[in-house]
Structures are given as structure tokens and as C-alpha cells.
């Protein structure tokens, strides 16, 4: 695999575009729960796909670029929510890449779940640093729990995609 193969560069750009679109669309969706910070995490699919295809570095590129572009479109660039998003994206990418590389036993659903929980932990860490207060740690159990369903949901979507790839080999084209 070449570092700057054309297929790879193009597909990374596509992934960033898809992630940004999901990020922006998701911000428009109302959440029926009265809990701030809980969301579907659809853009996580794209990050995990990038890690799955190209590894940690490119996964991080996709995740961070996605948050950057999404916040520019949403008009929250450099706002507190943006910093939380960056920190969350970084932690979830770190967790998912580590699990993909160093473990063999988890399916993408498990990895996605761990990534969602990692995302929420990263956000909480950023929030407590930002507010200079540890009182927000009281929110920890809620956020850990909230990561589970969204992680399973996005993991299931990615599993479907990868099974489709086993049949058609569509992603192999981009992995060359």
C-alpha cells in the first residue's frame, strides 16, 4: 500500500466528506431524550471504516477533519462544543484503533461500542478541563450507558457494510 496512492487519497477524501455530512445531519436531528451530550454518533461509522481500511493515522485524520469541517458548517467552530467534539473524536479513534490492532476477539460491534464509550469519556474529560470543575464527573454513568446503544447501532451498520464487501469486494478497490 503506497502512502499517497491515488485510490487511497480519493477514498479518504470521500470518507471525510461522508463523515462531515453525517455529522451535520446528525446535529439537525432532535434527540427525544432530555440528556445533553447523547447522540447517535453516526459519523463514527466512517471513522471506524477508515481505521478498518487504513489504520490509526488515517482514521484520526478522517475523525479530526470531520469534526473541523462539521463545526465550520454548523457554525460552532472553536466553541466549547467543538473542543468537546475534537477530544471525543480523538479518544474514540484511539480506543477503536487499539482494539482493532491488538485484539482479535471482538467484532466491529464490540469495537464500535468501545469507541462510543471512549468518545463520551473524552468529551467528559474535555468538559471537566474546560469548566475547571470535577463536579461534571457525576455525569459519567449516564454517558457510559448512553454509549452502548449508539455503539451497537453504528457497529451493526458497519457490520452490514463489511458483509456486503465480502460478497462484492467493493471496498478492496479502494484499499489497493
Amino acid at each position: 500500500m503506497k502512502r499517497f496512492g491515488t485510490h487511497r487519497v480519493v477514498f479518504l477524501a470521500l470518507l471525510i466528506a461522508m463523515g462531515t455530512a453525517l455529522h451535520v445531519v446528525e446535529a439537525l436531528l432532535p434527540i427525544p431524550l432530555p440528556i445533553p451530550g447523547v447522540k447517535l454518533g453516526l459519523a463514527n461509522i466512517v471513522t471506524l471504516l477508515a481505521i478498518y481500511l487504513y489504520g490509526f493515522r488515517d482514521g484520526l485524520t478522517v475523525a479530526l477533519m470531520r469534526v473541523l469541517l462539521g463545526s465550520l458548517i454548523g457554525g460552532v467552530f472553536l466553541a466549547p462544543g467543538f473542543l468537546l467534539g475534537i477530544c471525543g473524536a480523538f479518544f474514540s479513534t484511539l480506543v477503536m484503533a487499539a482494539l482493532l490492532r491488538y485484539t482479535r476477539c471482538f467484532t466491529v460491534i464490540g469495537i464500535s461500542m468501545a469507541g462510543a464509550v471512549g468518545h463520551n469519556l473524552g468529551q467528559l474529560l474535555a468538559a471537566s478541563l474546560l469548566l475547571q470543575s470535577s463536579a461534571i464527573i457525576f455525569y459519567l454513568p449516564v454517558l457510559i450507558l448512553a454509549g452502548i446503544p449508539s455503539g451497537i447501532f453504528t457497529g451493526y451498520l458497519l457490520k452490514t457494510l463489511i458483509e456486503h464487501n465480502h460478497k462484492t469486494g467493493i471496498l478492496n478497490y479502494y484499499n489497493s
Partner: protein, 123 residues
């Protein structure tokens, strides 16, 4: 989902529940240490752990004269003050953490301190 995924799910649930229990332990112990703090001209002169048994009063010397602070059970008030506005006296009783009685002319401050509760979260 394979077995490892289910173990991970169970592990995450367990951590969440344990931290929930830990939080409640922390929270309830913190609530028990509510204190009334009396500050005169920038210096803390008294620290009373609430609630107290019965009723008691004490006199503090402010900048414009003496003021009487009264404590009854878990609440505190300024009973009498020799200032012109009487804002502190008219405020009445305070008992919740974060509530404050201030006498500007006398430079007296009575504050209830307790568990740091989260006021609000914005997104």
C-alpha cells in the same frame, strides 16, 4: 455479536453501575458537611457545621457596628444589624448551599457551603 462483545458489554455496564454507586456514596457524604461561614472584612471568623441543636446567637463586629447572627437548626439569619439599609436583616433565613447574606456597609458575609451541585449543563 460474539462472546467477547457480550463480555465487553457486561463490563461496560458493570463499570457504569459501579461508578453510579460510587457517585452516590460521594454525593451523600458531601451533603452531610454543610457549613455556615461568617466572613467579616475579608477574614473568616466563624465556621459552623450545620445543623446545630436548638437556637443560638452571636455578635460580630462589622465596619459600622455590631451585628447579631442567629442560627436555628439548619438555617441562619441576620437578626439585627446597625447598618442603614437593613438588607441583610430583611433577607431572612438561608439554609441551602450557595445562599449568601451580605451586609455591604458592615462588610459582613454569611455563606452556606456544601456539596458542589451542578447548576446547569448547556450544549
Amino acid at each position: 455479536m460474539n462472546r467477547a462483545d457480550k463480555f465487553l458489554l457486561a463490563g461496560i455496564l458493570l463499570v457504569s453501575l459501579l461508578s453510579l454507586m460510587g457517585m452516590y456514596g460521594l454525593f451523600s457524604s458531601a451533603v452531610n458537611t454543610t457549613q455556615a461561614i461568617v466572613v467579616v472584612r475579608g477574614a473568616i471568623i466563624r465556621r459552623i457545621t450545620l445543623p446545630v441543636a436548638g437556637k443560638s446567637t452571636f455578635v460580630v463586629q462589622g465596619r459600622v457596628g455590631a451585628a447579631t447572627v442567629e442560627i436555628e437548626g439548619d438555617r441562619v439569619r441576620m437578626r439585627e444589624a446597625h447598618c442603614s439599609g437593613q438588607v441583610c436583616v430583611n433577607q431572612g433565613w438561608v439554609s441551602h448551599p450557595g445562599q449568601t447574606i451580605v451586609c455591604i456597609p458592615g462588610e459582613i458575609l454569611v455563606r452556606i457551603e456544601g456539596a458542589a451541585a451542578v447548576d446547569a449543563i448547556t450544549r
